[in-house]
Assembly symmetry: D2
Homo-oligomer: 233 residues x 4
């Protein structure tokens, strides 16, 4: 049994602009998708208290991510592009957030607790970095900065699905894993990668690559730091 490998198991992740960015940050990328948090979710050993704290911060993060999607609508220069971003936006606001609230309820976190929680340092750093790049740069900067979150969760979902160490029966985190490794999320990510490729071509990604890889790398670093919100106490 071999470890999951993007080149073989999901080649799309290694191609085009997204693939180049991922490849050029490989060490940092691996720290993100193979983080101890991910492993402990896979084998079910993560402390529930830590997971609860993560879920709360993840809820607050989703709200900020939605605000970045709103800027993607604002910055799109065709009606088709606007619709693409608005579809993502509605999906989060009308479906994902409610699912997240329901999922949190299953872990004993009620909606009031979600709404009153304080944003952690990791969340503030990551979400506001994205929003600042989204405002300061153009649509390409925005999509590049949002990409690690979109792609990374799909990759770690696929990795956990493929990993024999992943526990399915009796793992309280299995439904979480199932979500990010599932067909629906996978399709969303593939659409996002194609959109990035298209916007990249129109917006001069090749000439701008040094700046793009810098913002992608910072985003991966902050996504990795975000795992630390899964802490007890």
């Amino acid at each position: 049994m071999h470890e999951w490998q993007a080149e073989r198991d999901w080649p799309l992740l290694t191609q085009g602009l997204a693939g180049r960015l991922r490849n050029d940050c490989m060490a940092q990328w691996m720290e993100f998708v193979r983080h101890p948090f991910v492993r402990s979710v896979g084998d079910g050993t993560l402390a529930p208290e830590a997971f609860r704290n993560f879920l709360i911060q993840d809820y607050l993060y989703l709200i900020q991510y939605t605000r970045a999607c709103a800027l993607a609508v604002h910055k799109a220069d065709t009606v088709t592009g606007m619709r693409h971003a608005a579809h993502l936006l509605s999906g989060i606001l009308n479906t994902e957030l409610s699912m997240h609230v329901a999922y949190c309820a299953g872990w004993g976190i009620d909606e009031t607790a979600l709404e009153q929680a304080e944003e952690s340092l990791e969340l503030l750093a990551y979400s506001r970095f994205i929003l600042d790049r989204a405002q300061t740069g153009d649509l390409l900067d925005l999509l590049v900065t949002m990409a690690p979150c979109l792609i990374g969760y799909a990759e770690l979902g696929a990795r956990l699905h493929a990993d024999p160490a992943t526990k399915r029966e009796g793992n309280p985190y299995w439904s979480w894993i199932a979500l990010y490794g599932g067909a629906e999320y996978t399709e969303l990510v593939e659409e996002g990668i194609h959109r990035l490729e298209k916007v990249g071509a129109a917006c001069g990604a090749q000439a701008r690559y040094p700046a793009l890889v810098r913002e992608f790398a910072t985003s991966v670093r902050l996504e990795t730091a975000f795992w630390a919100t899964a802490r007890s106490g």
Copy 2:
């Protein structure tokens, strides 16, 4: 038979923040809602060529208005507020724009013509003024600047419905009038007025009133100027 009067026929338009703003720009407001364009639509005498040009510019305006709605999502500070703005946004992108395209087709304007049309001076002035206030100010500035468009079309729809001079049978513009005087649009406007009131209270509308009435007045002036896009040739 009396002329339509907001005080009697739709008192909501005269109350609260929206009512105060409308009242304090009354002369300009009347120029907007009782413009010769409106009269000529009502009695069916508007030149079709002029109406076609107006429709094209109105389509391009809708796209920019949607971008302002996206900023309203970005600037809302509660999930409920974000959902309210996102609902408006989806409504325009997924329903109104398609209806507008179909309606234009009925007037012999195909989608390519809509997409390739050049933005007029009036459209650029009005839409970019809104977008600049939306970016520069907070959510209240944004809603105040967008309000004349939202409310004014409902008022002129109601006026045309009530006006005995309005021709229904054989008036090529009747379906346009029916839309803005209809129950669905009326409800949308009432929601928007309530939202403005609520945001106004939370955001200090009373203390900020001198600045708010200035931006509202500019918006009414630009909305009035926009009727001139209904020109032949």
Copy 3:
């Protein structure tokens, strides 16, 4: 005696990104820099009343242009780039605006009149278009959209200087012409062109050219329309 020609008389205007943009909008560009307004300033036949109205709108325009310079500071990604934009910003706020006020006083327009004047449709369209592109796009979009104003005034200054039809003695507009054809403004423009070239290379101007030329063309069109603020009454 030949007409002034950029190719021969100021080749920098025909080179690089700025030159390509200018060349690809040549018909519209010529309407801008050889507009009847420019000719009537050159031979001194412009109605003083019209010029006064233009000066008032130009003052209000400068304020909005300064706001765009502030966004150029915000969007620059190096300290050197920030300083370049901040230098322009300070120059306008601390020097040009005061000179403009003094110049207007010489034409009988006092500062209160400047501050209380209403923004014209042409001013709103042009300035808010620039500000919207500045917010929506990146630094390159911003510089491309601001370029027609910067470069065009230098070119028309040079044209008027070179034109035998230009009246110097007894022309009430000579000091205005002298400003834009002068060494100081020329140097500012050359710096701006070099900056555009550099930012263009880093930001993928070549791949993005179709979008850039569209926003440049709109900007030239709006700059041309702005001459109409020189109207009597």
Copy 4:
């Protein structure tokens, strides 16, 4: 000898909008201005390595703070307000940054090290939070969010000046203390407080107070967290 007290020693800090905000976050505020970092600077016991790391992050922070000042120019609605913000902006870009570079050189940090340093989590969280509030809200939100940095450094400077435990002779940090407790910085802060008061009155600070105190409190929390950048290794 009594401890320094704002009420007695700098009453301006306890008055008006700034005073109310500071007072309503008092516990967090005290953690910020009487942080162990501040004490160890005062008695000269801070590890030089930790101070060097802090200086590097502080340099990177200044750059982002300047970008927020640029947005203050963009959002000001009078020429006087624009000049106030532009003055701050130029002061940082043309004077403070160079002083900071020279000061760092004295601590053995060369300019290349400053430019190549990676932004810390604390810096990203704090600076991008400010920039996001600056873009999302209006000028008042921006000034409120920037206020803890402006006022807090002056207060801790005054506290260290007044504290008998502060070592002056032979304290390698004395020049740093002298700067923030000095007359020039004090004057800057007083101007800033008056400006906040004025903008607060015009922008409805009273009605908006619940939202303002929330963003002020987050800013104080993030400023406090920023002291942790003074770490060795």
